[in-house]
Symmetry: C2
């Protein structure tokens, strides 16, 4: 297995779509424990590839719902032993469920998709469990709302899927978990549990906490101040609407790296405040500019939706704030043969006017603007 | 003038689009000093309404470029005195330019569009300048890139336009500045310079610094860690790509409120780290959940399209990833009489499928879903 640093091109994804499921080559069903968003999405994706999937959940309603959605069938005592068990329970019970699965299905390979990896691993080792058949994994996919009803077969397509294994994991066990990840369209990355937890601490957990704390500052703010909010505030606080209960679990299970990051970040903010406290002091402006420039450099490292944020050009079109207008715009884009890669509607508070932000390939951007203007649209 | 807490309805904007420019009723040109993004946009917008605009800039190239773009004509010594001077220079020279304009054109009303308001005001008062003809203002508009070539006649349409006046500003001077703001499509808000600076400190300057510092943390990160970046990180660090030079000026001119906010925020982050340091301690998880919930509450206060983001229900519709499909969906929504309050398109990288997230009024959500499903759409 390779551990690609950058996500590979779409090539292997298209290839994955055409070839038979890797997992289907094995005998016996895949058993999914926990039929929420992730578990049901694993089931839907594998069912779509013709894999036999059985489902289990503490909640009879949840498991029945997931089965109704086509994520698999509810497991019964008469079912044959699974070849693979995928555990998609909340992170705080992952270790317990892994242990139980290893005992219940001694011939199966067991994996989990929890968003923290070191804590379950450490707990399982502490209990003296034989982990030869356990491979931890974490697909970097999710949605703001959870539950089987939000599940989709393509949830993992093109997303990094981290594999964390023990040094002694047999090659065939590892290959099976990789096969599921590839069948579901994931992009394999291999890390140690420590590397994984530090990495998600930086790119996911720290931004979550920072965004939440920033949004919390708005609670006591005046209506007037809030009325001046623009796109910058909306972007920086968007993830602050995430589910607190889930995040208490995630952060609690990855506290050491996150605390370290928060301590450092708190010091960063304090240092910035110190530089700004007397901006006329020699060197203060230089220091502030350097910190802001470092932000420029950091943001430029983040890969975009399709590999690089630079791949698309944004066109902003002014529209009347009515569904008919936007439909007309999109119909005309279709007529003009302009393929829209992304769309975002932005609106001015209180104004009967909106802005459609359309992402197109750079090579068509100029023509798209010219064509739209010729048809009477106003672009920014 | 009223100082609406929520932006007024679109009524006055439609009206503004139809009635003759308020500013045109006055005699004499409007003179714009500083022909960058904001100054040239003011010029373009007023020219479009038939107002005579003269331009001035320290850079002969910039002013010629703005004139070429149609933002007005370069001012010469033989031009008649302006009735209004709009100053759109960088914030660090605003006070100097206001003073000079008040002396050069003693009959004109003078305004500026700088993004900080207290520092120029204080400096002008310190110099003993008579401010009877000065009204500070700040249109909440901008673009990521500056310069006359990015200027737009409709840059201010639907955006809040803050007016900061001295208690003794004569009504006719105030009315003239409000007329320009309305002519350019802005939504008037009145604040004291202190209120303005504290407000933009919270909703604009603090998020900018936080986003920059968060992005700066990515500079030393491993490729592997960056490879796990998702939408949350992209959203929270988007504004970190802003121009450091401009922001050094803005932050330097609003240092007192921003330092106060940064000190408090640094303490918030440290307190969160403390709660997370021993998550198993009694009360720690509750404390973490409370802080995350406060983030939920804060983000819900940010106005969306028509006032409050809590006002709408989200419907997610599965669509083929093609412009024709989305246009069809929006056309059908129009046919069904369902008014869409907001729209966001999401799609899975590499997948030929997309999700249209549509915000509708809660009372129509259920019917909208039923109608869409009946027409063969898949909703989540």
């Amino acid at each position: 297995m390779s551990a690609p640093e950058a996500a590979p091109s779409g090539e292997h994804l298209r290839a994955a779509g055409e070839r038979p499921a890797l997992v289907a080559r094995t005998r016996g069903p895949v058993h999914v424990i926990g039929a929420g968003l992730l578990g049901a999405s694993v089931g839907l994706g594998l069912r779509e590839r013709g894999v036999d999937v059985t489902l289990e959940d503490l909640s009879p309603t949840t498991v029945a719902l997931a089965a109704d959605y086509g994520a698999g069938r509810v497991r019964t005592a008469s079912d044959e032993s699974p070849v693979l068990v995928v555990i998609a329970t909340p992170p705080d019970v992952t270790a317990d469920v892994v242990e139980r699965a290893l005992r219940t299905y001694p011939d199966a390979v067991v994996t989990d998709v929890a968003s923290v990896k070191l804590a379950p691993f450490t707990e399982l080792k502490r209990r003296g469990i034989d982990l030869a058949k356990y491979v931890g994994s974490h697909p970097m996919a999710g949605r703001e709302r959870g539950g089987a009803i939000m599940a989709r077969a393509d949830l993992f397509v093109g997303r990094p899927w981290v594999i964390c294994r023990d040094g002694e994991t047999p090659a065939d066990a590892l290959a099976l978990v990789e096969a599921v990840a590839l069948d579901l369209g994931g992009v394999l990355m291999e890390m140690t549990p420590e590397e994984h937890d530090r990495s998600v601490g930086l790119v996911s957990h720290l931004p979550q906490v920072v965004s939440s704390l920033l949004a919390a500052r708005l609670v006591p703010a005046s209506e007037q101040a809030i009325g001046l909010a623009g796109g910058g505030l909306r972007d920086t606080t968007r993830v602050a609407s995430s589910d607190p209960e889930l995040w208490v679990q995630i952060l609690g299970a990855n506290s050491a790296p996150v605390v370290e990051l928060l301590d450092a970040f708190s010091a960063d903010v304090a240092a910035f405040a110190d530089a700004l406290r007397d901006p006329a002091r020699t060197g203060a402006r230089r220091r502030i500019a350097d910190l802001l420039s470092a932000g420029n450099n950091g943001v430029s490292r983040i890969p975009g939706k399709h590999g690089s944020s630079e791949r698309f050009t944004q066109i902003t079109v002014l529209i009347d704030d009515s569904p008919g207008q936007l439909a007309k715009l999109l119909t005309e884009l279709g007529e003009l043969g302009i393929n829209m890669e992304d769309l975002r509607l932005e609106h001015s508070p209180g104004a009967q006017i909106g802005f459609a932000e359309i992402a197109v390939l750079p090579e068509v951007a100029e023509r798209a603007v010219a064509d739209l203007v010729e048809r009477g649209w106003r672009t920014l």
